[in-house]
Structure formats: C-alpha cells, structure tokens
Symmetry: C2
Subunit: 311 residues, 2 copies
C-alpha cells in the first residue's frame, strides 16, 4: 500500500465518486469549544465512503464473472452500486441483524443478498463456497489494497479542502478508511481512530502494539464499524501513522447524530457519528479537528429515538 | 436587477458562502420516474440560501449603524450571521409563531430578536419605528436588489454544476430566490416556482398576469415560504422568465422531507422541501429537473412526526 495507489484510485474515481463537502457551523464550534470541520461522506453515493472503495476495487477487476462481498451494510451498498454501474452481478453476504434499510437498499441497487446468523454461522465459509461455485471475485471490506486506495481518496480531498493545522478523526472498523486517509494525509495531518465503548479493538491494539480482538461483535448501535480485529494490511499502517485511539459512548454517538441534524443538516448513522462525537466531547484534542462523518444509513426508528432523547 | 449585479454579489460571496453540492440518488430517481438533481442549500451557512442574500446586502452597506430585518426565521439567521461577521449589530423582527429553532438560532448568532403577533400587529410599522430610532438599515427579505443578487448566486452555481437540459424548481415565497435564479439561469434553464396548497399567490399571480394576495398567512407547515404576495421587484422578473407555478400539498412536502432524509441524507424543513416534492410527485415536468432544497431549519417535533407518518 502506498500513496501512488491512492492517487491512481482517485483518478479512476473522478466523475464517479462525489467530492463531498467539508462542512462546519459556528453554533457547533461553540458546543465543541473548538473548530470542527466535518467531511460529509454521508452525502457520498449509497450514503457512505464505502462507495469509493467499492468502485476502486470493481474498476480494477479484469474478466471477473461477478463480485462477492461480506458486509453489515455500507460496504454492501457501495459494492452493489459499483458492480451494477460496471454491468457485473454482485452477491452480498450480510448478517441477518443488519439494519433493514441497508439490506433493502443493497437489493435495490440490484445485488443478490445472502443473509447469515452473525453469532452461529461463518461468513468466510459461506463466501468461499459462493465464490468457488459461481466464479465470483471477493471484494474484502477493508483488508484489500484497492479498497484502501479508494477510501484514501477521502484523505486527498480533505488535504485539498483544508489548509490549516488539524487532526483528522475517523470512524474506525477494520481500518480501511483510516489507513487510506492516514496514507493520503501523511506529513499533513495526524489521524486518530474513534470507536464505540466495548468495541475498541483498534484503540487497544494501537496501545498494545499488537492486534487484539473484540470480546463480542453484537450489541452495538454502531453496526457499521464493529469488526473483530484490525486488518492485517491496515494495522501496520495505522501503527505507523495514527495517534492513540479514541473511544466514545453510544450516547455520545447519538448526541453527535442529533447535533449534526440540527447544526449541519446532514443525516448520520451512529457508527458514522463517532468521529464527530469525539470532536465534540473529548478534551484531549487540538484546536481544530476534521471529523469524517462516514455514513448516513440509519434506520428511521433509531434516528427517531435519538431525536426524542437528545433533540 | 440584472445579471451583472448577480455576478458582482457572487464575487463578494466567494470564500464566505458555501458552494453547495448538487446531489442525486439512483433510488430517488426511481421513485420520481425522472432524474432529480437537488441543490442542497440546506447545507449553506445558517441552514438556508438566505445567508447568501444576507451577506450580499450587508457587504454592500457603507456606514450603517446596524441592520434590521423582518423574517419568520431563515432570512433572520442569514442576516444575523452576516451582520455579526461584519461587526454590525442586527435587530430582527420575527413573528411569535416562528419555529423556536429559528428564533433560538437567530439569537445565538448574536442578533436582538423582537417578536410580534403575525395576525394583529404590523411588522412594517414596528420595523420603521426601530429603524428610525436606532439608525438601522432595513434589509428586506426579497424585494431588495442586493438580496436578489445574492440569492441569484445559487443559479450561477447550478449552471456551473450541471451541463444538460433541465428545468429548475424553486421553493417560492416572495420570489427573491426565484427571480435571482431565473436571471442567473436565463437562456440555460427555465425556472418553475413551487408553493404549498392554499398559499399559492405566486402561481395565481403568474396565471392572472397581476399580483394577487394569499387569503391568509397562518396555518401552513411551510412557514419559510408563506408571504402575502409576490414582490414588486421580483414579480416582473418571474413573469418574464418563469413557467407556470406548481403547487404541492403539505403531505407531499413532508414525504419529500422524509425521502431526502432516506436517500440524500440531508435535513429539509417543509418549506425547503416543496420543490423536491414537485420533482418527485408532479407528472407534467421534463425528464430532468433540478430542485433547490432551500432550507433545513426544521423543528425536531415536526420532523419526528413526519418520520413517524412517512418513514
């Protein structure tokens, strides 16, 4: 993985991925007590940055009969739309407890969805069988160089959009977005990962210097960024380039979601709001931070409940 | 009013107003049965296009002791922030039934808010007295050349962002946005006004060829775009450049608000969603339309109720 791969992916993404705006609001800065810039990837096609990695990976394929992906929902939609735009069939293996809005949209983009039980079934085995049977090429959600390169285009855009000193905060699951952005911003901005309490495998791995696992994968409202352990490819990049990992509570993520609604007029999902939550509610950060608002595919009921509690 | 004034205002706005993105979504196009591009002015500073006109007008003042504005809320916030950024005091006369989020934000931007009773008091008299007493300069919400010029910058951006054939739909109150955009897009796109049922003074005026008034000014959920009658300056421009006016129901506006949440991940207020509603639900429109999503300052309770009904 290197910056040249990210630049090459960014070139392929031109005219396909949306250059998302870097938003801010005086009243939000006042709440945070610092300047908070928000990279609104919820406005990306399919509602998250995952479209970038999906398009980057699918556009790099030659002669595939179709693509296969595992995903709780955002990678699913990104790959599904990118595959459809390339005229390729897509099969997406999704946990049965994924938000229904994500399952519905993945199907609406034309993909075949195969559901599995997150607690009892092995998604890798299901995927391997499907790939072998149908000649599909697997597009991994984060431990895949072309996917990391695509996500890195977020970092190139941030570097072009913001001129001052800042730290970049990323919502972090397996580290595809984080490692891509960290490579793209190397020498410009330090990147910090943000995870929800109880699912902070990256923060703990960074602190220990080795990859550790989450105790469980279920029970978080931040479904988009719950992964077992940092990626094999992504972790060394994060170790080299990222500061200590940050952790926020579920309630902080929900409050950030509501504040983004009120002051930025963007829709975030809880997992897409954790970086903003850290920007708003953590003390140990510099005067200016750039929070990547990574996704906005929220189930209406979750959103309504957050609005009722914190709106 | 002419295109040169709009170009001059756009130059002054550079680096101050945000160039808002033109969004679209495959799944939204499918619902509409046409291509729908959305100019997301809800992402503008203060949550609506009104910041453009506010900044354009305030930046054109020379030697004023302060500014005065009448507004149900979006013009209020735009003028309040623009005045604060110019170091000028602002007094805003607002109806007491304006959404509380708009009153609160106007105060948060540093303006003094004077409330009046929309049904029983004369806002013009209140404003005239304040202006005389304190040496304030009135910034009218739409019948003001510099305000129209600032709003017209929306049209210049649309023309730069979209290359094909299309009609532009605007959420229309007094016609400041509409006439500015129509002048900016003259020869490129025809502009159509959109209003809520029962408050369609512009559509009726365009059909009759003379300015007529709304029967009442209260009772609409689209508070942002309810005005007594088209402006003296704006109406001749709309008459010359706009197609027949469109009307949507309150429920269509609320459904558009929910669909924007789901598919574009932007937050709209009902009055800011009527153009999108027409784009989604009217039959008599061309294959591609560009809807200006003019504002996103919605009261959380109104939004939650819409989500519960249509989400």
């Amino acid at each position: 993985m290197n910056i040249e791969m990210i630049r090459a992916a960014a070139l392929r993404l031109e005219g396909h991925a949306r250059v998302t705006p870097l938003l801010n609001a005086p009243l939000l800065d006042r709440i945070a007590g610092r300047r908070v810039m928000v990279k609104a990837e919820c406005l990306q096609w399919t509602g998250s940055f995952k479209y970038r990695g999906g398009w980057a990976a699918v556009s790099a394929l030659r002669g595939a009969a179709g693509v296969l992906a595992f995903s709780s929902g955002n990678h699913a939609q990104g790959v599904a739309l990118a595959a459809a735009q390339h005229g390729l069939p897509a099969v997406i293996v999704m946990p049965s407890d994924a938000p229904s809005v994500k399952i519905d949209n993945t199907r609406a983009y034309g993909a075949e969805v195969v559901l599995y039980d997150r607690a009892r079934e092995d998604r890798d085995a299901i995927g391997a069988a499907l790939a072998a049977e149908r000649g599909l090429v697997l597009v991994r959600p984060y431990d895949e160089p072309e996917v990391i390169a695509g996500q890195g285009s977020v970092g190139l855009e941030i570097a072009a959009q913001f001129g001052g000193a800042a730290e970049v905060l990323t919502c972090c699951g397996g580290g595809g977005l984080t490692s891509g952005v960290a490579l793209a911003c190397e020498g410009r901005f330090r990147v910090r990962t943000v995870e929800p309490t109880g699912f902070d495998d990256v923060a703990r791995s960074l602190a220990l210097g080795e990859r550790v696992r989450n105790a469980t994968l279920s029970g978080s409202i931040c479904d988009a960024i719950v992964t077992p352990t940092p990626g094999e490819i992504t972790f060394p990049i994060m170790q080299r380039l990222c500061g200590p990992g940050l952790v926020v509570s579920d309630d902080e993520a929900l409050r950030a979601m509501v504040l983004a609604f009120q002051h930025l007029r963007i829709v975030l999902e809880p997992g897409g709001a954790v970086a903003l939550a850290a920007a708003l509610f953590r003390d140990d950060l510099p005067e200016t931070v750039i929070a990547v608002a990574s996704g906005g595919n929220v189930d209406p009921a979750v959103f309504a409940a957050a609005m009722a509690r914190f709106g």
